[in-house]
Symmetry: C2
Subunit: 317 residues, 2 copies
Amino acid sequence: MSDIRSFQDHISFIRSQTEKGLSKIPLRPNLTNYFYEPIKYVLKGKGKRLRPILVHLTGQIYNAHPDELMKAGIAVELLHNFSLVHDDIMDNDSKRHGQPSVHNKWDTSTAILAGDGLFALAQLALVGLKPVAYQRFNEVALEVCEGQGIDKEYENNTSITMNEYIQMIGKKTASFLGLCAELGGLLGSASQKESNNLFQFGYNLGLAFQIKDDYLEIFGDEKIMGKSLGSDLDEQKQTVMTITARKKDFDNWSKFIQKKNNLSQYKDYFETSGIKKEVENLIESHVSKALSGLDLISKNRSNHLSEYAKLILNRDY
Amino acid sequence: MSDIRSFQDHISFIRSQTEKGLSKIPLRPNLTNYFYEPIKYVLKGKGKRLRPILVHLTGQIYNAHPDELMKAGIAVELLHNFSLVHDDIMDNDSKRHGQPSVHNKWDTSTAILAGDGLFALAQLALVGLKPVAYQRFNEVALEVCEGQGIDKEYENNTSITMNEYIQMIGKKTASFLGLCAELGGLLGSASQKESNNLFQFGYNLGLAFQIKDDYLEIFGDEKIMGKSLGSDLDEQKQTVMTITARKKDFDNWSKFIQKKNNLSQYKDYFETSGIKKEVENLIESHVSKALSGLDLISKNRSNHLSEYAKLILNRDY
């Protein structure tokens, strides 16, 4: 119990330091409000800062310098927000973190430019870190774009298999959490093998994270999530829920989705058919896989990473 | 004469090497056509590759390694194309380099993602160069975004002064040419002072370049330019032509633009009122200013930069 309390205190501290770091990024709205106002708006949003937290947690295990972890943490948070702002345009999402998305509050042009600015600011946050951090950061940024491309291709494609889906979210979401875990190690004393291991830890956790995202899109609480749910289904996106449903009972699912269902009908379907439970198990299995890959780190040093994994498993928004 | 010939041969060689470099960037359309096909399409477009050429020309003066110049050249060309793809969405431009712009050929989402990918690829092209190259690259990328923000703010604002306009294109266009000139020096043996000087050279040339751009939007040849002209005027953008016209004879210009004029009527107005000539002089004065700033480099070594400046001055597309 006291361990968990101290973990909560620990990540609260990282979170508040990250907020402080984000608020110190030199933005110059006087120069151009059009460009900086939406960026300020995005950075003040209620993000969970899960990515910087992971950078710090692995970095602390490998004794990385706190200032360097702060730079990398700010950079991944900016990269994350860049991709949210642009994805919200592409996916036509009108809300983000409980407030209107940028393209909704302003317009598409404003949101494109704000995203570009966040991407450039992310690169600048990395200045001073060793070149390999910069290289891995951008290799993964490219993978995230690839994942988004595959995601767009999969829209309306009802023949996507679970393997294809896992590959897609592997690029779009999991590689990013992999990067965060890896960066901490790279900036510290982790060997190449240890850094790869950290990447794998973040990657598997990232798979669990995205599957949970799809799950919460149906079974989350709209108030806590700060957005309307079920929009993935309206947009005919392929999610872990629809793919599992199709795989489990193709005929029944095909009949079901021909009707105009509301969210509670979807919930009923997923619950009574056992799909809800199946997806819950899938999330747990990826978290377990992530944890079992931490064998290079001694138990007492990997403690915070286990707590972090539980955070991902149990998050409700 | 033979000097000019050898300069032409020289930049043709740089251009063909750049094309070769661009064609070697590992793109994986098999993985995701949605993401890579538009990127391939953009890179095959008929760009003039003026930015990589400038990187090579200054780098050669300061004995930078050709491989490093190639990396920086590819990076600036990718950054340039990133900004074109996104600006074309924001400015609603349907053609680019004689072919449909990405958002026109595909759609807005595709173009947003393609631009993001080009930005990430630009960062990856820099891997292996000294950190200051990476830093300056992204400082200027941010400035280009700021410039685009100011440009959007200035739309429909008919009180913009020439100074404000020069500041805006300074960020949006001139700082980018400044970066190209500076990068060659940074990667070679240029001192801090010499690198700053190179930046100023590129910056002043960039001002001339953008003013010429506005000029060609009216007085260019549609066939050579590969796009329909006069669209800036339809979009109510503030350009050097409209600002000069307003400044020269406010009442006359105000009366003129209240009418629905076609391109040839605009041409007539700018010609008979002396505005065409005035803008031509402005272009020349910025090119002269650029050249006079090259005094740290001996005449025989700066020869190619003078030829490059003439290229900017005399370009017809």
